[in-house]
């Protein structure tokens, strides 16, 4: 049982001013899982907006995604699916947006399991959470990208293509199994 250090930061960026969607490219193939952690806020003029993650594309469009959702808001819970026949949201959850209380950011965490596998389609476990002092949301979602191609890039889009607010941080980690 040789133990080696792992959970390695691959890349990180923090927006100093509102910025467009972000892309991690040339992702090394030497890890086992990827973990994308977003501590963010969007500029869409409502209280929340979607964060959408896509694989191996630089545009916010792909036809190979489906997702199952469990959502709680504090006042109600809901279950839903997204299929490849619905508008394509990639792997998604939500974050606070422009009309939410200032300085409130949300957490979105995407676990891309066995991302370099060429025998598995890509399962992504997604946790999303934020609280807006009277409202909020908790998401436990699982998405599938129906491709056995290894993941080499991630694109983080948003609902309606709106910018992410200043202070939003995107960090990509690689986890290495023994």
């Amino acid at each position: 049982m040789a133990a080696q250090s792992t959970y390695t930061p691959i890349a990180t960026t923090t927006y100093a001013s509102p910025g467009v969607n972000y892309v991690f490219s040339n992702i090394p193939q030497t890890y086992t899982d990827l973990v994308l952690v977003v501590y963010g806020r969007n500029t869409y003029p409502t209280a929340t907006n979607a964060i959408n993650m896509y694989i191996n594309t630089t545009t916010q469009s792909s036809s190979n995604w489906s997702q199952t959702n469990l959502n709680g808001t504090g006042t109600g819970n809901s279950a839903s699916h997204q299929t490849t026949s619905t508008p394509d949201y990639g792997a998604s959850t939500s974050l606070p947006s422009a009309s939410a209380t200032a300085n409130l950011f949300g957490l979105a965490e995407f676990h891309i399991m066995n991302y370099a596998s060429t025998i598995m389609t890509k399962t992504v476990l997604i946790r999303g959470s934020y609280d807006l002092n009277g409202s909020g949301a908790l998401d436990l979602n699982v998405a599938n990208y129906q491709s056995t191609v290894a993941v080499t890039s991630l694109q983080i889009g948003s609902g309606y293509g709106y910018n992410y607010a200043a202070g939003t941080t995107f960090t990509l980690y690689g986890i290495t199994a023994a």
Binding site: M1, A3, Q4, S5, T6, Y7, T32, D33, S66, Q67, T68, N69, L70, N77, S78, A79, S80, H81, T83, T84, H111, M113, N114, S117, I119, M120, T121, T123, V124, L125, R127, L140, N141, V142, A143, N144, Q146, T148, I175, T176, A177, A178
Partner: protein, 425 residues
């Protein structure tokens, strides 16, 4: 003067009492272990029965046969597939200040075969009914014994109960040990691998490293894996030890570890199999995490989640709850007095090819001997209109450190399924 027994550890119970007395990191460089114990329980009776020991955190791998005498007669019995047995100890309504005296002897404790644990103990109380035991315990593990717990079968061990572990070397030492050389330390995420070169004919029966916080870790050979305090400079002194003394190498340069997440072991199935088992889990970390990608061989078009068993304990010692979404509704369910905890999800083989469910299992404070063990599981898969996402919780009602994790499929895990075990410092 040479001695044949080398005292390793002693624990004396404090005023609060203790239901379990545990020794971890037992050095592996000796031949036999001999445990001397002096115990008394606070149970509201004259004696307390059911006292036992646990090795490596493993439950129900024991059987035993005993001969006992009460002074009024001789008896005997045995029990298969059970806990071990240490005999009775005096308890609260028995004569004051009397403690049992017992010895547990485990020969060849590092060997690759099943072990024997021989007990002789007495619980004298100045009555005819005082009991003496001779007990033969079979310990059904082929792993070296690295930890040992003495468990009070009824109530808790009272203050001043004492247990000492002695190690017995295969032969007397006739000369002082010679110090090792070339100490080298490698950061390994939460602990350090301290390697060294033993001197030829060094007379050593075991080796040890002691850090600058006076924490000593024993080992039979190089390297020795020792704990490290995250974020602070740690130095280690390597020692060669025998029954006559020890000889230290030069102190190695310090290491400052900032890693906190380490890969312990990974299983990737080349062919279908179940269960997937991790054993001999190091006790150096704070938490454990399993990360899973699983699919079943069951040809159905549905799914099933796996179940988790800790330390081989298949008794009704778990409770577990779940909440899940299938995309149409949210449902919760539970099982109490269960024989396992809910584990990571796996689609059956009738689902779209190449879809493996993802899972993250967190086991917190897994080596704590004062807490039951709690699991948290986030798992699911999606198949384009059919899918499940689960959050499970589970409790294993045991104070034993987690040394083994078993994940059982609802059928059999398909080839390509993989589970990686990580330690979090």
């Amino acid at each position: 003067m040479s001695v044949s027994y080398y005292p390793l550890f002693t624990q004396t119970v404090g005023a609060a009492g203790a239901s379990t007395i545990t020794f971890n990191n037992i050095p592996q460089g000796y031949q036999d272990l001999k445990i001397e114990y002096s115990l008394r329980s606070n149970a509201a009776s004259s004696t307390a029965d059911g006292n036992n020991f646990v090795v490596n955190g493993l439950a129900n791998i024991y059987s035993w046969t005993q001969v006992y005498s009460t002074g009024a007669g001789l008896g005997g019995n045995n029990l298969a597939n059970s806990t071990s047995y240490l005999g009775v100890v005096p308890a609260a309504t028995g004569t004051a200040n009397i403690f049992s005296v017992g010895t547990l002897e485990i020969p060849n404790y590092t060997g690759g075969t099943y072990k024997q644990g021989f007990v002789n103990s007495v619980s004298e109380n100045n009555t005819v009914g005082a009991t003496a035991h001779l007990i033969s315990n079979l310990i059904k593990t082929t792993s070296p014994i690295t930890s040992l717990s003495l468990v009070c079968g009824n109530g808790s061990f009272v203050q001043y109960s004492t247990v000492t572990i002695y190690a017995r070397a295969a032969q007397y030492s006739t000369a002082l040990p010679v110090s090792p050389s070339n100490p080298l330390v490698v950061d390994q995420a939460g602990f350090a691998a301290v390697s060294f070169t033993p001197s030829s004919s060094d007379n050593a029966t075991t080796y040890a490293v002691t850090d600058n916080n006076s924490v000593t870790t024993y080992g039979a050979s190089s390297p020795i894996i020792a704990p490290v305090t995250l974020g602070s400079a740690t130095t280690y002194t390597v020692k060669a030890i025998n029954s006559l003394g020890s000889a230290s190498a030069a102190i190695n340069p310090s290491v400052t570890s900032s890693n906190s997440f380490a890969s312990i072991a990974t299983v990737t199935l080349a062919s279908a199999a179940s269960p997937i088992v991790f054993t001999n889990i190091p006790q150096n970390y704070t938490h454990l995490q399993l990360r899973t990608s699983l699919r079943n061989t069951n040809s159905g078009a549905t799914e099933s989640f796996s179940v988790i068993i800790l330390n081989g304990d298949a008794g009704a010692n778990y409770s577990t709850h779940s909440v899940f979404s299938n995309g149409a509704s949210i449902t919760s369910f539970n099982a109490v007095s269960a024989t396992s905890m809910y584990g990571p999800e796996a689609p059956n083989d009738g689902r779209t090819a190449s879809i493996f469910a993802g899972g993250i299992v967190d086991l917190l404070d897994y080596s704590n001997t004062l807490k039951y063990k709690t699991s948290k599981v986030f798992t699911g898969f999606d198949d384009n209109g059919f899918g499940y996402v689960f959050m499970h919780s589970g409790t294993w009602y045991s104070f034993a450190p987690v040394t083994a994790i078993q994940i059982n499929s609802g059928s059999t895990f398909k080839a390509g399924s993989t589970i990686a075990l990580y330690g979090i410092a």
